[in-house]
Symmetry: C2
Subunit: 429 residues, 2 copies
């Protein structure tokens, strides 16, 4: 074993960073044995230098992250600051000064992954980010390496623990959205401002990263259709149960049936209770992958938290250190397929639509005609009514989102349709 240590600069020492530092210290002998050389924490860049950080030598702490990544003797920079800047500039500066980078920064990778990979390649360095998607769950590496000889056709993921906790609570207790959100907040599963989670921004960043790797195609954050889950109601869960389904916020990356394009989207969807993702409870994450040769795979585990995220960061750190010792780099960006990313209108799936309608003869015929005129084939209809009010629940066969959108627009114009109570996609069948 080499005795001269590899030097690691840690950018950020919050929930994840402090756990990375702790494990680097307490498991130093194991890490050294697995890497083939010791690793040494050479510096820790923080915003608040005066905060007491147990187990971290105060002499290593600095507020000057730029100077740290420019030192020139750093082998690996671990970036767990999050956000776009200064993380982006620090990472490109690190490459230019000879370091490889391990990052947990989903927002940055989703937005600027291509440019960062190019910077890494230019300097012959590694950029690893297993922790950016689904926390501790090995996902980037399996998709990029284990399935490198296969053709991935679909990725269906529960990649946000906050929203899964909320939806699971609604499903289990019958609570409404606000009540379940309040519980999640009280238990620390939701942030004070839950927008990034409940509106699907967090999941959309992960979808962009997953789609890019799965399809060997650059997928920009703007390419990802995004719909939050704040409008999911207890009534939707009741409808789902009648269908033998539950509701999950899914990140869905799909190759079109003809293979010529891909789509990426985040929205709530009904999935059958028999689907492996339906049983993913609380704040757990899981990603279901359908590929040509392997078939159906699922990866399950904690999607967030200091320790789980640190586990993923340290796995990358070991890999990057091994590469460095071996004079090699790991697989970089693979975007050779360069498939077009289609808009949401091209997505083909099934729909569950609840309509409030007038309780009089002929309404079903009118509604069915509108579906037919837009080329959306109906699978089942359920009609119920009392006191002049009635509801129609329509479940369609597979249709394009554009055709469904046109159908709904036309339905809203019917005198006999008083409102469209909900539209929910049905996935995983």
């Amino acid at each position: 074993m080499r005795t001269r240590p590899l030097k690691v600069a840690l950018l950020g020492c919050g929930v994840v960073g402090s756990e990375v530092a702790r494990i680097m210290t307490t498991h130093a002998a194991d890490l050294a044995a697995r890497i083939g050389a010791p690793v040494e924490l050479a510096g820790v860049a923080v915003r608040r230098p005066d905060k007491v950080r147990e187990g971290i030598d105060p002499a290593l702490v600095t507020t000057d992250a730029t100077a740290l990544v420019k030192r020139g003797d750093i082998d690996v920079v671990v970036e767990v600051i999050g956000g776009i800047e200064p993380a982006r500039t620090l990472i490109t500066t690190a490459f230019a000064h000879g370091a490889s980078v391990v990052s947990a920064n989903k927002a940055l990778i989703a937005q600027d992954g291509a440019a960062l990979h190019a910077a890494a390649d230019e300097h012959g360095k590694d950029l690893y980010y297993e922790a950016a998607v689904a926390g501790a769950i090995p996902l980037i590496r399996p998709l990029r390496e284990s399935l490198a000889g296969d053709k991935v056709n679909r990725v269906l993921g529960i990649v946000n623990g906050t929203t899964n906790f909320i939806l699971d609570a609604m499903d289990t207790t019958g609570a409404g959205y606000q009540e379940a959100l309040d519980e999640a907040t009280a238990l620390g599963y939701a942030e004070a401002d839950p927008t990034a989670d409940v509106e699907g921004f967090d999941a959309a960043a992960k979808a962009a990263i997953l789609a890019g790797i799965a399809f060997h195609t650059r997928v920009r954050l703007d390419d990802v259709y995004r719909e939050g889950m704040t409008e999911v109601t207890a009534a939707d869960f009741a409808s789902a149960k009648e269908m033998g389904c539950t509701i999950k916020l899914l990140a869905i990356c799909e190759r079109a049936a003809d293979g010529g394009s891909v789509t990426a989207r985040v929205h709530p969807a009904m999935i059958p209770l028999s689907h492996p993702l339906a049983g993913v409870r609380e704040a757990y994450n899981a990603v279901f992958v359908e590929s040509e040769a392997a078939g159906q795979l699922m990866f399950y585990g904690p999607g967030a938290g200091g320790s789980p995220t640190a586990s993923a960061v340290l796995g990358d750190l070991v890999a990057v250190c091994r590469n460095r010792l071996g004079g090699a780099t790991g697989p970089g960006e693979s975007a050779y397929a360069a498939l077009p990313v289609s808009p949401m209108g091209d997505v083909v799936t099934r729909y569950h639509i609840s309509l409030d309608v007038a309780d009089k003869p002929g309404v079903l015929a009118q509604v069915a005609t509108v579906f037919a005129e837009h080329g959306v084939s109906i699978d089942t209809v359920r009609q119920s009514g009392k006191d002049g009010e009635a509801s129609l629940v329509v479940v369609t066969h597979r249709a394009s989102d554009a055709a469904l959108g046109g159908t709904v627009e036309a339905l809203r114009k019917l005198d006999t349709v008083r409102g469209v109570a909900s539209i929910m996609r049905v996935e995983g069948e």
Copy 2:
């Protein structure tokens, strides 16, 4: 991209090998883009050269596997023959003649993994075998690489599809073992001689491989305690249901509580219905991993079959080819921890024991005394009886297998105990 192709020799062209060859042909452009150079099938060693093999150039087919691996221009040998010899000699010969090796051979890796890794190292070559455990499920790579910065404490796996199919059928339909085995055989899930599956030999080989990688310790096949599932009865499933459990054949690799030793074992066990492994149906495999930082992870997918196994082989092939182009090798054997492997008697778990006893006063007291004398603490007891016959179901707290064994031996000697109907371990709680 390099234009000179990497040359691949395929040893074996059965269900897996023919699928590997097919995908290498149909997906040649994708493989080349992902590797950075084309890969070329340079030779296929078979036993029956006259069999028609669709899509394979007859000029590539040979019965002389030894000559093929000795050619000297082969970059990667893919071994999908199975069994110990001639696979072992062919693999070491391949290393000596400059090739890296991808193998799907669980029996060989479990028995001779250390020697084969040493041979690979000696020649600076790679030995990869993702397909040897749980077919298409990325498992070796996540354990070896993604969790390289973590400490794995337990691996609980359903790693044999045949036995899971049989147990799932027994659970779902109430069928007995023989009836469920017959169905599995008729559907092609069980071989004509199912011994390797139902007696746990196949799962034991996988347990040895998983334990070795998880604990960075050599675990020999002989170190793995093995108990088949042929004696699981419909009555056991009824008992399991009463406990809120189902029964699975599990491969269990554990680090002792004090961290100083490890154990590996295969046996049927009750697990709670709430455990993610309980929902693994039909012939699917799944491996549940508990690690210090990541927490609970699960990997799920098809554990066998030509295409899924080929997916794993090709993922390894891409990795080995990349390593070769980069002049590097991937992570080899990691056995530095060299922890002692404890015998089954040291395993600590809970037990569900059904006793047939005389239906008279004082029996429970006698039985409870035997448990107490052996230091096995009882959690619950359920007594039922009619017509002079009675049964006692005892569920224990955690106790060592040795203590439980002593207890059972003493129980058998009691006049009032007419028989020990079943003993089943309870896991995953």
